[in-house]
């Protein structure tokens, strides 16, 4: 059960190739989203079970480390969705694997195009929030 995880971070990091990096990022982003979702669902459910704890969680989300974490999460989520879509399309049309380099470049460009305004809006909101307090 743990072996795939260990291998990802031992052989996965030791092996130097382009595809490998993308795969590692996809795995890290997938795991990152899972961890965040678990945390988030736990936090929200506390609204029903332990309102005081829920309030504290909400306060915590407003601190700078969490604001930065949210930016990172937004990037990981967008990257994971776009890159995942690339993988799914190529899996269904294997002839397209010959155009893998182009597909990868496209998915990185689309990720950047979607990430830039998202991060800008989020950062703007956070900064206005911190300035107001």
């Amino acid at each position: 059960m743990l072996r795939p995880l260990i291998v990802s971070f031992r052989e996965g990091v030791a092996y130097r190739a382009k595809g490998n990096l993308l795969w590692l990022l996809h795995r890290i982003s997938g795991l990152g989203i899972v961890v965040f979702l678990g945390f988030h669902i736990f936090g929200m459910s506390m609204a029903a079970f332990n309102p005081a704890l829920h309030e504290r969680a909400l306060e915590l989300y407003k601190t700078p480390p969490f604001a930065i974490g949210e930016l990172l999460l937004a990037f990981l989520l967008i990257f994971h969705a776009v890159n995942g879509t690339r993988i799914a399309i190529l899996e269904l049309r294997p002839q397209l694997w010959e155009k893998q380099e182009l597909a990868t470049r496209l998915s990185l460009i689309i990720t950047a195009l979607l990430t830039a305004p998202t991060l800008a809006i989020m950062a703007y909101k956070s900064i206005s929030h911190f300035l107001a307090h």
Binding site: R3, P4, V7, S8, E11, G12, A14, Y15, R16, A17, K18, G19, N20, L22, W23, I87, L90, E91, P94, Q95, W97, E98, Q100
Partner: protein
């Protein structure tokens, strides 16, 4: 030019775990990494163990990790891989190291044998050879180029995590027969490859295609086998 070869050494009779050793060798930029390794073995340290045979990229015996990436030592030119005069050389991943750069290839060949790597045709043999149109021959041309060097399989994260995965090389070899119009055992091979340790362990990382010294579109071949399994048609 002078370069430093950093080689990962392991002698099972004395070492508990592998360690690095550095050698300085005089080479031409257009020499191959294999030439530099020969220089070490023949003039500096005869205990260095490595495997090679043809020295011309066709026998598939000298796959190793050069600067962290799988290559054939006989196809990697010094000028293409030397970084600030240093080249690191390690054994390929995912197979047990026997000594220094030599790994035990048996698990790899066992996967190769498992996919029935031979032509199956139970029709009575014709007078001369079994004919095939140029188009039918072209269908599987790419996968005939495989030299079973294991660069692909040992670059695959799925294989590192689970040695039972048949791996890209065995799938490439299966592809070569599945899409051969003269062969009659395609269904049987597809059945083998649809098992839990077959093609579905491929997570499309693409390391294999990047590593293949023969330029085979490995991930595409795997994709075509997956497609044949999904649709039930071999075409």
């Amino acid at each position: 030019m002078k370069i430093t070869l950093k080689i990962k050494r392991f002698n099972p009779e004395v070492d508990k775990k592998p360690h690095w050793e550095s050698y300085t060798v005089e080479v031409e930029p257009t020499d191959r990494v294999l030439d530099a390794l020969h220089e070490v073995k023949w003039t500096q340290d005869g205990t260095l163990a490595l495997r090679r045979s043809c020295a011309h990229g066709i026998c598939g015996s000298d796959a190793m990790r050069i600067n962290g990436r799988n290559m054939l030592a006989c196809k990697a030119l010094i000028k293409d891989v030397a970084k600030d005069g240093v080249i690191t050389v390690e054994p390929i991943l995912g197979l047990p190291v026997v000594k220094d750069l030599i790994v035990d290839m048996e698990p790899f060949f066992a996967h190769y044998r498992a996919i029935m790597p031979y032509l199956v045709n139970n029709d009575p043999p014709p007078e001369r050879e079994r004919l095939q149109s140029p188009e039918d021959r072209a269908r599987y041309d790419d996968t005939t180029k495989c030299i079973l060097c294991a660069c692909c399989t040992t670059s695959c994260p799925s294989f590192w995590a689970r040695g039972e995965y048949v791996g890209p090389a065995a799938i490439v070899q299966a592809h070569r027969f599945i899409f051969d119009s003269r062969d009659q055992a395609g269904e049987e091979r597809l059945r083998i490859l649809s098992e839990p340790d077959g093609v579905w362990r491929c997570r499309t990382v693409f390391n294999c295609t990047e590593a293949c010294p023969r330029g085979i579109q490995v991930t595409k071949a795997i994709g075509e086998v997956k497609e044949a399994l999904r649709t039930g048609v071999i075409r």
